[in-house]
């Protein structure tokens, strides 16, 4: 009897969705926690749930929206459970900036700058972090951000401008030079 290799017809679709939306899902989780590793875990969990949902025969009309919603919920749950466990944020959230191959002095300066930036980003409202992550992390334009956040592009410009202003205020209050 001739046997034919079985391929899951949804696997290709899943791969495609992963390629297209994985960074957005990561970005939303990252904006909540400011921790790349946690965001990766949340992103992978969200995609895993999508896969399971499909395997169980669940029909999802808009996988992108579904993933973003699940990622947000997971990020919230993670925040709550982490708070219960530790009572505060883990130290690496505040300090952990992974180094790349740059000169030690530059690296030190960069780490200091990024450490401060991370601290101030962490003090911003989640909505501010979200829009900044989408703009600067994913390099999305106003229309793309508007689509994800389900608001219009004018509101995106306004929110982005305010978020940057608030961040700039905080950075200045904590030592950034106005002439930088």
């Amino acid at each position: 009897m001739k046997s034919r290799p079985k391929t899951d017809p949804r696997r290709a679709e899943f791969d495609d969705i992963y390629q297209r939306h994985t960074r957005e899902v990561w970005a939303l989780a990252y904006a909540r926690w400011l921790n790349a590793e946690v965001a990766l875990d949340i992103m992978q969990e969200a995609f895993l749930r999508l896969w399971k949902q499909w395997q169980e025969g669940g029909e999802i009309l808009n996988p992108r929206a579904w993933l973003l919603r699940v990622a947000r919920n997971l990020a919230e749950d993670y925040a709550k459970s982490a708070f219960r466990r530790n009572g505060t944020q883990p130290p690496q959230t505040m300090n952990g900036v992974k180094g790349r191959d740059i000169l030690p002095l530059d690296k030190m300066e960069q780490e200091e700058t990024f450490g401060e930036l991370r601290k101030q980003l962490n003090q911003l409202a989640p909505a501010d972090r979200e829009i900044l992550t989408l703009r600067y992390g994913l390099d999305y334009n106003a229309n793309q951000i508007a689509e994800i956040l389900d608001i219009n592009s004018t509101a995106v410009h306004m929110r982005l401008s305010r978020a940057r202003q608030r961040l700039a205020d905080r950075l200045t209050d904590h030592g950034a030079s106005p002439l930088s």
């Binding site: 079985k6 791969d15 992963y18 990561w26 992390g137 002439l179 930088s180």
Partner: protein, 134 residues
């Protein structure tokens, strides 16, 4: 065009710092897609295929057996005069006779013999209640 924030901080600086910060934070290389690997679905065993069918057949068999056994025993007494309700198992009943009591009421009388070394005879008398006459 104003390129500084109200606090005097350069917008370019903020943009630059944010861009490099987020660029650094983004995982590189990006993790490949990973989903749980399922074993290729092999041929189903007999039980997997016919398990439910077998279960239904078993339940049906039990039901049929119960009904068949039940049919071998006398049915419940007919509605109305439940005269044999308290009959002792193994006893013999005489035919019932309709008699008139000294006061003129109708009654059924029969006897029940319980066999044994010393047989016991129980005489039953049951008044037949009709419409009361004044």
């Amino acid at each position: 065009m104003n390129n500084t924030f109200s606090n005097g901080l350069s917008q370019d600086y903020v943009d630059r710092v944010l861009q490099s910060f987020f660029k650094k934070e983004m995982p590189d290389p990006w993790p490949p897609v990973s989903v749980p690997v399922h074993k290729a679905a092999g041929p189903h065993s007999w039980f997997q295929t016919y398990g439910r069918l077998a279960l239904v057949a078993c339940v049906a068999l039990i039901l049929i057996s119960y009904l068949s056994l039940a049919a071998m025993f006398p049915a419940a007494p007919v509605p109305g005069l439940a005269l044999d309700r308290y009959r002792t198992i193994g006893s013999k009943l005489s035919p019932k006779q309709r008699v008139l009591t000294p006061r003129g009421a109708e009654a059924l009388v029969w006897d029940e013999t319980i066999p044994g070394e010393r047989p016991t005879i129980i005489i039953h008398a049951l008044e037949i209640k009709g419409p009361q006459k004044r």
